[in-house]
Amino acid sequence: MTRSQKNRVAAVVRYAVLTVWALIVAFPIYWMVATSFKPSEQWFAWPAVYFPDPLTLDNYLDVWTGRQEIATAQYIISAQRPWLALGNSFLIAFSATSLAVVYGAAIAYGVSRYKILSDLRMFQLLMLRMIPPIVIVAPLSLYYSELGLLDSAVGLILIYFLTSLPFAVWMIKSFIDEVPREVEQAAEILGAPRWRTLLEIVLPLVRSGLVATFLFILILTWSEYLLALILSKTEVVTLPVELSKYQGTSEGRVYGRQAALSVGITVPLIIIGIIIRKHLARGFSFGMIRR
C-alpha cells in the first residue's frame, strides 16, 4: 500500500469510529427530545416508536402551563410548579455562582500576585470539592434547621457557593497567571493608582476568563441534585428535584412529560456549554490543563 492509500484507509476508519460514538451520544438525547413530542400511547409502545407521529405539543403544555394536574403519591404537581422551580433554580444558581466568582477572583488575584495561600493550602482548598457532599450533609441539615436555613434559597446558595469556590479560585487563577506582571508594573510606573490598574488593566484582560468561569460554575450548580434534594424539597424546589417528582405518579410513568421537562432543564446548559467549550477542559481540571 502506498502512503496516500494508507492515509485514506486511516481517514475512513477514523470517521467510522467517530461516527459510531457520535450516534451513541446522540441517540439518548434524540430519544429524550422525540419522547417529549409523543402522544401518550407512544411513550411505551412495543416495538418502540422512533419517530413521533403525530407530533404533539401536549407534553409541553401539560408541564409548563399546568393544563393537567398530576396527582402523585407524595406531592401535588400543580399549575405553576415548574415555573416556580425554574425561578428557584435561576435565583440559586445565579446568586451562588456570582458569589463564587467574585470571591474566587479576589482570592485568585491574591494568590497569583501575592501568594496569600501557599501551594499546599491551594490544594487543601480542593478538598472542599473532592470530599463527597453526602458525608457532611447530615450534620449540615441539622445546623440548617437550627438556623432556619433548611428549605430556603439562602441555605442552598451558601452551600453551592462553598462547593464551587475551589473551581472558581483555581480556574480564575489560571487566567490571571497568564496576564504578564509587567503590564501591571508598567501601569504603576505611569502613576496609575492601584484600583485603576486593577479595573482598567487587569480586569479587561481576564474578562473572558471570568465569564467562562461564571458559565462553567453555573452548569455545575444548575444540575446539582443531592444537596438540593436533602436541604430543600418542599418549599424551595430546584428543577432537578422537581423532575424527580414525576417519578411514581398515580397514573404511572409519565415519560412524555418527564421528557418535556428534561428538555427544558437541559437546553440552557447545552447552549452555555457549547459557548464555553474551549474552556471546559480548564474548568474541570481546576485550571491545571490549558489550551
Binding site: A11, R14, V17, L18, W21, A22, V25, A26, F27, P28, I29, W31, M32, W43, F44, W46, A48, D119, L120, F123, Q124, L126, M127, M130, I131, P132, P133, I134, V135, I136, A138, P139, L142, W222, S223, Y225, L226, I230, P240, L243, S244, Q247, Y255, Q258, A259, S262, I265, T266, L269, I270, I272, G273, I274, R277, A281, R282, F284, I289, R290, R291
Partner: protein, 279 residues
C-alpha cells in the same frame, strides 16, 4: 460540623426521640455496629468497583477519541461539540432518559432484537446482577466527555520536536505512541483518572433516581447507603457514624490524590512554560 457528626456517632438518636441534644450517650456502640455491618462493607466495595470500572471505561473511550482527533480534519469541530453533549446534560435527566431507553420493552432492547433477529428483553433495570453495570454504562456515557476534553487538550499541548525526531529516526507509529506520546502525556492522564475517580465515588443522582440502591442491594454504593440510613430509615446516629467512616476513607483517598496531583501539576506547569521560553 464535624463535631456534630461525631456527637451523633456517639449518641443514639433517631427522628422519633425528641430533641437531638437529649440523646443517650452510647459510647462506641454505633461505631462497633458500623464496623460489623457487612452491608456497609459491600457498599464500599461496590463504590470502588463502580468508580474504578467507570473511570477505566471513560478513560479508554475518551483517550481513543482524543487520539483519533489529535490532527485537524474536516468536521472536527462538529464532532467535538457532539462529543461534549453528555457532560452538559443534567445527571438526573440522564437517569430518567436512561430509564426510558432501557426498560424492558424500551428502544435499546428493541434495537438489539432487530439487529440480532432474536427477541431480546434484557432486564437492565430489574436484574440485580446487571443493575450496577447499567449505571456504570450510564456513568461512562455521561462522563466520557470529561476524559475526552482533557485528553484533547493534552494532545494539543504535546511538543512537536520529540515526535518529529522519533519519526526521522524511523520509529514506527506504534513505538512513537508508547515511547514518546504516552510518557509525555503522563501528567494529563493521571489528572484525568484521578479527578474522574473522585467524582465517580460521589455519584448519587443516577443511582438514586434509577435504583434507590436496588434491586435488592445491587447498586447500594456508599452515598446511597448513607442516604438510605439517614433519610429513609431515619437512623441518624448510624448515618452519622457511616458518614464519619466514609469521610475518613475519602480523606485518605483525596489526600493521596492531592499528593499525586501536586506532583503532576509541576510537570504540567513545566509543559506549558517550556514552549514559551523556548521561543
Amino acid at each position: 460540623m464535624l463535631l456534630l457528626q461525631l456527637y451523633f456517632s456517639f449518641h443514639q438518636w433517631s427522628i422519633y426521640l425528641g430533641a437531638w441534644h437529649e440523646a443517650e450517650f452510647v459510647g462506641l456502640d454505633i461505631f462497633k455496629e458500623v464496623f460489623a455491618d457487612s452491608r456497609f462493607g459491600w457498599a464500599i466495595l461496590r463504590s470502588l468497583a463502580f468508580a474504578g470500572g467507570s473511570t477505566i471505561g471513560c478513560f479508554l473511550i475518551g483517550f481513543g477519541l482524543a487520539y483519533l482527533m489529535r490532527k485537524p480534519f474536516r468536521g472536527q469541530a462538529l464532532y467535538y461539540i457532539l462529543f461534549i453533549l453528555p457532560m452538559l446534560t443534567v445527571p438526573i435527566v440522564i437517569a430518567y432518559t436512561g430509564e426510558m431507553l432501557l426498560y424492558e420493552s424500551g428502544p435499546i432492547n428493541d434495537m438489539i432484537s432487530r439487529v440480532s433477529g432474536g427477541d431480546f428483553k434484557v432486564a437492565w433495570l430489574s436484574n440485580p446482577s446487571i443493575a450496577l453495570l447499567t449505571v456504570m454504562l450510564l456513568e461512562i456515557w455521561n462522563w466520557t466527555p470529561f476524559t475526552f476534553i482533557i485528553m484533547v487538550a493534552g494532545f494539543a499541548s504535546l511538543p512537536r520536536e520529540p515526535l518529529e525526531a522519533a519519526r526521522i529516526l524511523g520509529a514506527s507509529s506504534w513505538r512513537i505512541f508508547w515511547e514518546v506520546q504516552v510518557p509525555l502525556l503522563r501528567p494529563v492522564i493521571f489528572l484525568a483518572l484521578t479527578l474522574r475517580f473522585l467524582e465517580a465515588m460521589a455519584e448519587f443522582p443516577k443511582i438514586w433516581a434509577l435504583f434507590q440502591g436496588g434491586p435488592g442491594s445491587a447498586t447500594e454504593t456508599i452515598p446511597v447507603y448513607i442516604f438510605l440510613t439517614t433519610w429513609q430509615y431515619f437512623q441518624v446516629s448510624k448515618g452519622a457514624a457511616l458518614s464519619y467512616v466514609a469521610m475518613m476513607l475519602m480523606i485518605v483517598i483525596v489526600l493521596g490524590a492531592i499528593r499525586l496531583l501536586r506532583h503532576e501539576k509541576r510537570a504540567l506547569d513545566e509543559m506549558y512554560v517550556a514552549p514559551r521560553s523556548g521561543g
